[in-house]
């Protein structure tokens, strides 16, 4: 082959090659991006929903039990709540309580007399009864300030 018949550099340049403008390829890419963002937004929506405490009941409920004593060691008579839920019960004459149907995970247990409540962080395990042992309730000497 003569030198003048050889292909020029332009003919070999990869940089000047235009991308395929096949409409089907374009459409395929567009649909791929739609699929990616759809999947990503669904994932984020699911994670956002899981952050809401109400959904935690989907992962099951558990129970807690224990005994509440006053600062002097005598049985405490009062109310027990789980913060942010309608769950509540009362302690028995010996200070014992059992609260069932609590959404699993980290919760705040409130022990209250007729004036104030004290909060105790607890961890509830789905399908299990957690023994909280002895809880000390310190009342206020004066009405709430």
């Amino acid at each position: 082959m003569r030198a003048e018949d050889s292909p020029s550099l332009e003919q070999y340049s990869v940089f000047d090659q235009k991308p395929a403008s096949d409409p089907q390829v374009k459409k395929g890419r567009l649909r791929l991006w739609i699929g990616i963002f759809l999947a990503f937004s669904l994932l984020l929506a699911t994670l956002s929903l899981l952050q809401k405490s109400r959904v935690s009941t989907l992962f099951g409920t558990g129970s807690v039990y224990g005994v509440v004593l006053t600062s002097s060691g005598s049985p405490f008579r009062g109310e027990i709540y789980i913060l942010g839920t309608p769950l509540e019960t009362q302690t028995a004459a010996d200070g014992a309580f059992l609260l069932e149907g609590i959404p699993s995970g980290d919760q705040i247990l409130i022990v209250a007399d007729d004036q104030i409540g004290r909060d105790f962080p607890i961890h509830v395990v789905a399908g299990k009864q957690v023994d909280l042992g002895q809880i000390r309730f310190e009342s206020t000497a004066v009405p709430s300030p």
Binding site: I34, T140, P143
Partner: protein, 230 residues
Amino acid sequence: MHSHERGQGFVEYALLISLIALTVILALQMMGVSVGKAFCDVAAVINLTSVCSPKVLCEDSFDSLANWKTFYGKPVTTNGKICLDKGTQVYNTCSMNTQRENYTIRLENALLYQGNGYGIFFRTVYNQKGANGYIFQYDPGLQAFVIRKWVNGKEIWQPIAKTPIPNGYPIYNTPHNVEIIVRDNLFTVLIDGQQVLQAQDDTYKEGGIGFRTWDHTEFCADRIAQFSIP
């Protein structure tokens, strides 16, 4: 046929843009960024402040107690002021009916004459046992500004935020303007325009406004308003 394909392409592009917007909004929410606030920040930069200017949701100049329901105690209105003393708890029916999530409370000329302090409930609802929500306490009894939670009419003793009242602060017989900004899980309290307290909590999502006094308190205020925030 050709124009039909082009139309379909536009729909797909619109769908893609919508999904990108949705993804961004969800991601911002996951990171705890308020989309409304971000929108208003941008609007403020391009001088579109009217879009996000606060609107009055409820207000009362205390000509009567028509907009207030007494849970206990004996509140009175006199000369355009509400006055509470000793053990009193009242709530604003307008704000309780709307049960909003985010808002600003402005209490004008709040004046403590004597006693251990007063409280302003926010994001609070009442059940048969009492208040469930938050309260800001102007509390010389504790020598502090305090934010607490209430559950079934009982205050949770451990505050979620507390800051000492500075020495020499004019606690009594000096009118103060109190502003509480309730946005998502962040609560900011300003007195006379100065931030005094901030708290973060996720327990209560919505609710109205109320007042509380205790012990030997004597307290009056001129006007209260609840404003929208983006």
